[in-house]
């Protein structure tokens, strides 16, 4: 019965109706054969056309086929309405997230003003708390937009890789545990800077909740096709993946947008987990020695599979 694997769930339901009715109603062997042919027709590319033609013809099976087709049409209508309702929900969600974003940006601008001249460490500390909360709220709001397939914000100008990592740590929940040991002259392109930051912040959150204490170690190395950012932390790789469906859904979307490759596996150096993010050469550039700005990276001849560690670019 291989045809059952080739047809959709909806069509399978209609097929079952035809089959059940045909078996109970059709007495003649000829009718049963015709029923079997019709059922098989569902799996064919023009199967529905054949069935609609059969429904038009006179015969014992015509009303049965017509009933099944009516049911199929009704299901499609319901599915269409559900899809339209879903699209409306997504639009509303995007609209609300945008409004949230505007409020959070206004909040951050106000916090900036207060922080600028604050000389009292205690008050500055309190402002930092507000700042951190606002930065996390902004990321949550942007996660919704990412999942809805919308670009959250734009940034003009390239951003150094160390700055991207530092901001990603800042947007995460575990800033004090993230140890960044990355010194290189690479920059992330303007169009990818915010998304890469967001993605790494999600990775840092996964790391922080998978490993309840202990450091989150961040290194980077230049390979033949880009730059590999490595995030190591304690805990179990399987749990890291299975316990963070939302985080990885966001990571997946962002990675897909910029063709980043994300791998999660047990840390080869011992107990723990390593998440590797390959930033491909289209996403990063190297600062040029001159004043002219930036130039394409002359990539080191190190293949990706050469293992973690090594010298930074």
């Amino acid at each position: 019965m291989t045809w059952t694997w080739t047809i959709s769930g909806t069509t399978a339901l209609a097929t079952a109706v035809v089959l059940a009715l045909a078996c109970s109603w059709a007495v003649a062997a000829g009718t049963r054969r015709r029923a079997r042919r019709l059922v098989t027709a569902f799996g064919a590319p023009d199967g529905e056309g054949q069935l609609r033609a059969a429904a038009e013809r006179r015969g014992a099976l015509a009303p049965v086929v017509a009933a099944a087709l009516r049911r199929l049409d009704a299901e499609r209508l319901v599915a269409l309405h559900a899809r339209q309702a879903h699209e409306t929900d997504v639009r509303l969600g995007v609209d609300l997230s945008r409004r949230n974003q505007e409020l959070i940006e206004a909040q951050l601008a106000r916090i900036d003003e207060l922080e600028r001249d604050e000389q009292d460490p205690d008050r500055l500390d309190e402002l930092f708390e507000l700042d951190r909360l606002a930065a996390r709220m902004r990321r949550n709001s942007e996660s919704l937009l990412v999942l809805a397939g919308v670009e959250p914000r734009r940034w003009d100008g390239v951003v150094p890789v160390p700055d991207v990592l530092q901001q990603a740590a800042a947007e995460g929940e575990h800033l004090d545990r993230v140890r960044i040991d990355v010194r290189n002259d690479l920059v992330v392109t303007a169009s990818a800077a915010l998304d890469v930051t967001h993605l790494l912040a999600e990775v840092f959150d996964v790391a922080g909740s998978t490993s309840p204490d202990g450091p989150i170690l961040v290194t980077a190395r230049v390979v033949d096709v880009g730059c590999v950012v490595s995030v190591r932390f304690g805990g179990d790789a399987g749990a890291a993946l299975s316990d963070h469906p939302t985080g990885f859904a966001v990571i997946d979307r962002l990675a897909g947008r910029h063709r980043l490759a994300i791998d999660v596996f047990p840390d080869p150096g011992g107990t723990g987990v390593e998440v590797r993010a390959l930033l491909p050469s289209g996403v990063i550039e190297r600062r040029s020695a001159g004043r002219s700005g930036f130039e394409p990276v002359e990539w080191d001849r190190v293949p990706v599979a050469a293992g973690a560690g090594g010298s930074p670019g």
Binding site: E105, L108, A109, D112, E115, R116, D117, E118, Q119, P121, D122, L124, D125, F128, D131, R132, A135, R153, R154, W155, D156, V159, P160, P162, D163, V164, Q166, Q167, A169, A170, E171, L175, D176, R183, A193
Partner: protein, 119 residues
């Protein structure tokens, strides 16, 4: 600089110090900062904001001016300078020892302005 958000640096201020707000060494606002030869040598290997700070302090420069040029809060700037001071990458001189330096006048004026605002 096409969006409002872009007027801010990419990295939030609290991230630059890892959230720290206090310094091991008191650092008056009118103090002048200068990069040491060690600082000049290691500048390419430090984070972008510290590299910019070390470049800026090639000549004596005031704390307030550093904060303004790097677009970071005064409190953050103090922590960054104190860190560099601990590492021996900058030295800090009271303004009296640098009388005649262009930076000193500006720092003094900033200080006066600050005092006037508090009246």
């Amino acid at each position: 600089m096409t969006t409002a958000a872009q007027e801010r640096p990419f990295v939030r201020p609290f991230a630059l110090t890892g959230g720290r707000v206090t310094t091991s060494t008191p650092l008056p606002l009118e103090a002048l900062v200068r990069t040491t030869s060690t600082g000049t040598r290691v500048a390419p290997a430090v984070t972008p904001v510290l590299r910019a700070l070390l470049d800026l302090a090639a000549d004596h420069v005031g704390v307030v001016e550093v904060a303004a040029r790097l677009a970071v809060p005064i409190g953050v700037c103090r922590v960054l300078i104190a860190d560099l001071l601990d590492e021996g990458l900058v030295v800090v001189a009271p303004p009296a020892s640098a009388i005649g330096d262009a930076g000193a006048d500006q720092v003094l004026l900033e200080r006066v302005l600050d005092g006037v605002r508090r009246l």
